[in-house]
């Protein structure tokens, strides 16, 4: 619940130069993009773009600069541009990240910055992959609240503590950064993958849900949680800071300790 706060002072002394960053720095980068244009060339290839970028520009800004000023055929998905819609997971310098959340100045700009599509899903064009298999796994874990009996007239009661148990896994934006960074998923596309397990966790540990057992049964499958080798790639990749490996461990634990 919101707490009552004392009125803040009408006037404060600001630190010198607060908020002011002085000049906006510019710098040059080489963006090395893995291109794949199935309508013109059969093979994927690397292409370099030399760009001048500004202070807080992100990899997405660099991609836009290529698309808008140099080569309109460069194709990638994006929408929100601030890390909440999950459209633009890609491999940046070999690591899965969101292009809109990766500041260029945080990368080593003395070397080419490599950008490629995420791995393990069918490549369609440039940085675009077919997301259908990813969403298929998600749908299989029954990602919706299941309850029995009559609905209450008002809201279901849930304590703040009960809600906190699954808070972390409600943050998922289904970007696939985790699943497509998982070595098990690369070799076995049938594996549910971390994102599906994260979303199962979100319901299994929701005090209001009554189908945890069904979901645990699904994940107890040979393509389920036991394929996870705890490589931690997924946790490192998650742009939402979800502790993916921890969530998977909690699901494993729940399967082992359940009473049925």
């Amino acid at each position: 619940m919101s707490t009552e706060l004392p009125e803040p002072p009408s006037k404060i002394e600001l630190k010198a130069g607060v908020g002011g960053g002085g000049e906006i720095p510019t710098f040059n980068i080489t963006l090395r993009v893995r291109r794949y244009l199935p309508e013109t060339t059969a093979e994927a290839y690397w292409e370099d773009f030399k760009l001048t970028m500004y202070g807080t520009d992100r990899v997405l800004d660099a991609l836009h600069k290529v698309k808008w000023d140099h080569d309109g055929s460069l194709s990638f998905r994006r929408s929100c541009a601030h890390g909440v819609c999950g459209s633009d997971a890609m491999r940046i310098n070999g690591r899965n990240r969101l292009a809109c959340k990766t500041l260029l100045k945080d990368l080593d700009t003395s070397k080419p910055i490599t950008v490629e599509a995420i791995k393990g899903l069918p490549l369609e064009k440039d940085l675009i992959v077919d997301m259908e298999p990813f969403f298929q796994s998600y749908r299989e874990i029954m990602p919706f609240l299941i309850t029995k009996g009559h609905e209450p007239t008002k809201e279901r009661i849930q304590s703040a503590e009960e809600r906190a148990v699954f808070d972390d896994t409600t943050k998922c934006i289904l970007c696939a950064a985790c699943t497509s960074s998982c070595p098990v998923f690369w070799t076995d596309g049938q594996y549910f993958g971390p994102a599906a397990i994260v979303n199962a966790h979100r319901f299994i540990f929701d005090s209001r849900d009554e189908a945890g057992d069904m979901r645990l049964e699904i994940l107890n499958d040979k393509e389920g949680v036991w394929r996870c080798r705890t490589t931690f790639n997924c946790s490192e990749a998650c742009p939402r800071g979800i502790q993916v490996t921890k969530a998977i461990a909690e699901v494993k634990q729940a399967i082992l300790s359940r009473t049925v």
Partner: protein, 595 residues
């Protein structure tokens, strides 16, 4: 070209589209066409909350909520619609909870509520806790919860299908007084499949437009790259009116230079605005509710501080959002995402340093006119059978000249639900309207024209000029000169647009082509917005004319209705006809809007 047949086709899978789909999908054969994967929709970016007078933490009722909505909208709200929304708000929130939405909770385990700008107790006496929320990702949780329930109900999605045209037929009909008119009826839509470049025609008894906003008309905006007003643009080209397009909301707290939103919830939790003197300047502009005054007032106050030389930073072009007096723990639990935005994108640590902010283009109050049953109007009072609209693309109108925070997540749920039910019900009794011959002719010609063009104009360059112009001349301060200048630029851009060419000539995932199509919608909408703004010679809500600084109820207590009409000229712009529509007033007579 492929042809599909459905009872109901929904255009858009944001909050409004999916809320509609959950209802319609259980009653009629429904397809949802969306240019983005549903979970990528911009509803997911909403942070602060969704309001309803649940009275879970303090006394409240829907009538106060109605009043706040009407007053917040500067009295140009249709009061019957506001009342429906405020009443149905309570069930809308409870429905979401039952679908699984993890709201933050009170110590008793009920849905928690917090303050939000313009929401008050007993007609303005004090701020009230009305916004239900899930940390600062309420929109994310709404979008996820609705998608989850669509999965549950096996809703059929056509992902990455861009709807580019609305198919309607016209037939002669007669009004009660015997005069003849052309009655439009909906037959379906034409869509473009991004993956293959193929056109798909969907024949449908009912069509619901839920295609979201048009923030990309502006440069500094909280809106996604994909919010290009397609639905409004399509309706307008099809001869339907657009209502109240001059009213666009500028949210006070966008990250300076970027436009990324920091929720008003931050001020709800106690953050305040300061100028370069460290002064809490809102005490001067809205002595009673200060930093929690409605958005238009706060945004103008900020712009005014900057204009009068009290801005911060190297260019003195922004003000500061100060959270430094707040408990870090409290903020981390209530607003984790926005503190992260400040850190990630500006490198500012919000617990020790105030965050640079400036108004950002946020929300289109206007849109495709509907009645409270979400039926689209072809003029002031003629409904188009089978055509519905809901969400930001529609104008019911519940937001009037200025939307209150948390009222849009509410709008999409209340009117999304209504649209889904109404569209399915209509489809049960109606017959299919026969498709026109060559239903895809217009779209085919447009796309082929772009693909084969050898013109010299560049899409990105035209778009940038448009967005820069709108920011400079049609933002929080407007006057005859700035608007006229903006229109000159827009007219020039519209001419140059005919001469654009694109580089990608392929069929697969040709986003180059679609950006060109989207620019066409942006140009149309910018023209309508600016023309309507020039015509409205008064200041009301989000529309502030420096040359007419007062509200003028005598002449302008009316909605504007803009039509594409090649025989008409408005404010020197040929091709636009501007009409008016009365405002529905039930309980509340216009009063001065003071906070």
């Amino acid at each position: 070209m492929q042809v599909h047949k459905y009872d109901v086709v929904i255009v858009g899978a944001g909050g409004a589209g999916m809320r509609a789909a959950i209802e319609s999908g259980q009653r009629a054969r429904t397809a949802v066409l969306t240019k983005l994967y549903p979970t990528r929709s911009h509803t997911g970016a909403a942070q602060g909350g969704m309001c309803a007078a649940l009275a879970n933490v303090e006394e409240d009722n829907w009538e106060w909520h109605t009043f706040d909505t009407v007053k917040g909208g500067d009295y140009i709200v249709d009061q019957d619609a506001a009342e429906v929304m405020a009443k149905e708000a309570i069930d809308a929130v409870l429905d979401l909870e039952k679908m699984g939405l993890p709201f933050n909770r009170t110590p008793e385990g009920k849905i928690d509520q917090r303050r939000f700008g313009g929401h008050t107790r007993d007609h303005g006496k004090a701020a009230v806790r009305r916004a239900c929320y899930a940390a600062d990702r309420t929109g994310h949780m709404i979008l996820q919860t609705l998608y989850q329930n669509c999965v549950k109900h096996n809703v059929e999605f056509y992902n990455e299908y861009y709807v580019l045209d609305l198919l309607m037929v016209e037939e002669e009909a007669f009004r009660e007084d015997g005069t003849a008119y052309q009655q439009k009826r909906v037959a379906g839509v034409v869509s473009y499949d991004l993956a293959t470049g193929e056109l798909h025609v969907f024949q449908a008894k009912s069509v619901i437009f839920a295609s979201g906003g048009a923030g990309k008309v502006f440069k500094t905006t909280s809106n996604a790259h994909t919010l290009t007003g397609d639905g409004m643009g399509i309706a307008f080209r099809s001869g339907l009116p657009l209502e109240d397009m001059e009213f666009f909301q500028f949210h006070p707290t966008g990250l300076a230079g970027l436009g990324i939103l920091l929720t008003e919830g931050a001020r709800g939790e106690g953050a305040i605005l300061r100028n370069s003197d460290g002064e809490r300047f809102m005490e001067r502009y809205a002595p009673t509710i200060k930093d929690l005054a409605p958005r238009d007032i706060v945004a103008r106050a900020m712009a005014n501080e900057v204009r009068e030389g009290r801005g911060c930073g190297p260019n003195k072009d922004y003000v500061l959002l100060d959270l430094t007096h707040l408990e870090p723990e409290h903020i981390e639990s209530k607003l984790p995402d926005i503190t992260e935005f400040a850190r990630t994108y500006l490198g500012v640590e919000p617990f020790t340093d105030p965050v640079p902010v400036y108004p950002t283009a946020h929300y289109a109050m206007g849109g495709v006119p509907t009645n409270i049953e979400t039926e689209v109007l072809q003029d002031n009072d003629t409904v188009i059978p089978g055509l519905y609209a809901a969400g930001e693309t529609a104008c019911v109108s519940v937001h009037g000249a200025n939307r209150l925070g948390t009222n849009s997540l509410l709008d999409i749920n209340v009117f999304g639900r209504r649209a889904g039910i109404a569209a399915a019900k209509y489809a049960q009794d109606a017959d299919f309207v026969e498709l026109p011959e060559n239903p895809d002719a217009l779209v085919t010609a447009q796309l082929e024209g772009l693909l084969s063009s050898t013109g010299t104009e560049n899409v990105a360059a035209l778009r940038k000029t448009l967005q820069d112009t709108m920011d400079a001349k049609v933002q929080v301060f407007r006057d005859e000169k700035s608007l006229t200048e903006a229109l000159e630029v827009i007219e020039d851009l519209r001419k140059r647009y005919k001469n654009v060419s694109i580089q990608d000539k392929g069929k697969r995932f040709n986003l180059d082509l679609l950006e060109a199509v989207e620019l066409g919608f942006l140009l149309d909408l910018a023209e309508v917005m600016t023309t309507a703004a020039l015509h409205r010679k008064e200041s009301r809500g989000g529309h502030y004319r420096e040359d007419y600084p007062n509200r003028d109820d005598e002449n302008f207590m009316i909605h504007s209705m803009a039509y594409r009409d090649h025989n008409a000229t408005t404010e020197g712009i040929s091709g636009i006809r501007l009409e008016t529509k009365p405002v529905v007033v039930t309980r509340y007579q216009p009063m001065e809007r003071k906070y």
